[in-house]
Amino acid sequence: MNARPKIGVYICHCGINIAATVDVEEVVRFASTLPDVVVARNYSYMCSDPGQALITEDIQNMGLNRVVVASCSPRMHEPTFRKTLMSVGLNPYFLEMANIREQCSWVHEDRIAATEKAKRLVESAVVKVRRLEPLEVKEVEVEPSCLIIGAGIAGIQAALDIADAGFKVYLVEKTPSVGGHMAQLDKTFPTLDCSACILTPKMVDVANHPNIELLTYSQVEEISGYVGNFDVKVRKKSRFVDVSKCTGCGACAEACRQAGRIPSEFDEGLGMRSCIYLPFPQAVPAKYTIDKETCLFLTRGKCGDSPKCVEACEAGAIDFEMKDEMLEFKVGTIIVATGFDVFDARNKPEYGYGTYPEVVTALEFERLVSASGPYGGKVVIPQRGKKKKKKEGEEEEAPRVPKNITFIQCVGSRDKSVGNEYCSRVCCMYTAKQAHLAKDKIPDAEITIFYMDVRAFGKGYEEFYDRVRREGIRYIRGNPSEIFRRGDKLVVRAEDTLTATPMEHETDMVVLSVGLMPRSDRREIIDLLKLSSSPDQFYLEAHPKLRPVDTATDGIFLAGACQGPKDIPDAVGQAKGAASAAMILMASGKVKVEAQTSVVDEATCRGCGFCVEICPYSAIELVEVNRMGWPVKVARVNEALCKGCGACAAACLSGSIQQRSFRDLQILPQIEVLGVSD
């Protein structure tokens, strides 16, 4: 393969770090007796400029083609010495390091034993370097486009940043409109900005941006490929409405035979919609969608004599024959921004959610207090869907206005009994905000908040919490144990833990500050992208502190609450971080891929597929090749996907697949040297 190995061995003193415990001269003497070693030297600091010059001069003058450096850990200076080799035209992978500092001189006291061990480690490096092969650092092109999954505030922000930088963005959203949870909120803490007022301009921007292809009511079905070159398949679900014709007038929704009977997802089931609907007035795109689960014509094939929406639509946009559309495109980077679910309060049955209509979740309260909500922004006890139309002829009862409202924090957060140990990071502040809004709408209402701790950590949060307390809102430290009915009141039983007094608190309405949960459909994305989850089941970042937006897979990034509970500023911040991480790849246009990848000897591979199964990165596939006129299957490694773990090499029955720089024939000589007992 190559010319006879000519090895240079360089032993570092590292000042006295190594030389104090290891007899460096002795190691040099020993190294020069090893096979193929042409020169062995020592120097006080090999990593210094003169130290590196020793190596480069020897390479040039003596024609060395392999180098062993015995010094600190390769995790420290391997990149340094690889560059040294490269600077004089030697392949950087003709280097092996012997770790005689961290794993020898620093941990052993006995000079003789440490010197003996150092000799063994050097010998092991020499026998390995003899068998190393030159490797090529490959670069792959990065497609200048990005797929963003999820169009809540995080996805929207990332899309706008990337599109503004001039890259193509495919923004895929599962529901008929962009906006996510933020669109459902009334005001935002601590500034009390109207959520819709700050969000809708951005929603319109993503729809109109020339670099953004907005795919609403769509789902990613398949992703293959690797960093820089992902192949994406997206299913554009049929809306049964031709969006090019729909004017968004809404005549169809008014005409629908089921109008006002279908619980609106956007209003958390407090308000009603038709089968053909716009999720909310500011929805983007402002195009109607037929819900095929409830539409009479689509479920039963019959809707009166003919569907009323078709009659009502002057534009002729409704098309019951419309089919799902499959789109395929290539992207270089992917950002996952799928957001969160709120905790299902039914999992805390002691609070009576679902039993007492006076108990609502905080997200339902947002819809109550929102001017665009089902009660026009009045804080009332909602009349749950079914009851509304039951008593015919009877005067419709006006919804009751509560005079006493109780909030309970940490419902489904910091609670091991429901499996959520984490803090949801938003509930303390949104509870304070909702208490403020309730007080604003019903000034004479008595408002009480049960809390465990108040975590007002963000900019302006503590000030806001302080302001709310001064507005006459009562904070009681205690976690209520149950809620039950007494007459027309609800009773919250709790212990005030600051005074250690058990108490029963009568109230008209209870708002449960539900926490943030990983999405119930998170597995779809995990299977699609092979992401990992952290113990709390949110998606796992590559490093909790230093790589918070990266995933273990190159080219795939995380933004927003899919990585962990976040408030709006944090979600936006992380989205901008993810956008910038994706843009680094796309702007440079190239990315280096692992060189120490696996490689198959196709002559001996028998195509059993063991390695294909075992590879965690799906980097190996079976391909058909012609072997002396016969078509046979053999494994083939996609080097851009291979991360160089070597699991396949250990699994191969015939030894046909090997990891470069860690081949059997490179490791076994090391074992032979190290295994020999004196």
Binding site: G646, L665, G675
Partner: protein
């Protein structure tokens, strides 16, 4: 070489450490100047998933008195699943070696993370003590091969 006696026997142990957790943990032990016996000699691999049972066998055949495989904690593998593969292979390997009459103390697997320098020292001490207790290993020893 002097004859080994029970008192003077210093076992030779070959260890396979993954680059990301245990090798880094061993480096940390060094940086923290935590002292431990010099009997363990390390082969660095990128992942314990790379450790072929053949390597363990080979080390014993060369005359090593014990073998240690150490990787990331379950769930922490840099390559997602490599340490699970290693664990499965190793469990079978150990039972096979036990069947052949090799004392279980000679072959060990451990999880040492990049932040567990002191755990690395404990693991080394335990392995060395364990192998010392069962004495030298020579039933597999063979002539040196020429690779």
């Amino acid at each position: 070489m002097a004859e080994n006696t029970r008192e003077t026997f210093e076992p030779n142990i070959v260890a396979f450490l993954c680059n990301w957790c245990s090798y880094a943990g061993a480096d940390l032990a060094g940086t923290s100047r935590i002292h431990y016996p010099s009997n363990v000699k390390v082969v660095r691999v990128m992942c314990t998933g790379r450790v072929n049972p053949l390597f363990v066998m080979n080390a014993l055949q060369q005359g090593a008195d014990g073998v240690l495989v150490s990787g990331c904690h379950p769930g922490d593998c840099h390559y997602m699943q490599g340490n699970y593969y290693a664990r499965r292979r190793f469990t079978l390997m150990r039972r096979f070696l036990e069947y052949l009459g090799v004392e279980p103390a000679r072959v060990r697997m451990s999880w040492v993370s990049a932040s567990e320098g002191s755990k690395w020292k404990e693991v080394v001490e335990e392995v060395v003590e364990g192998v010392k207790a069962v004495g030298p290993m020579d039933q597999f020893k063979r002539r040196q091969l020429n690779w």
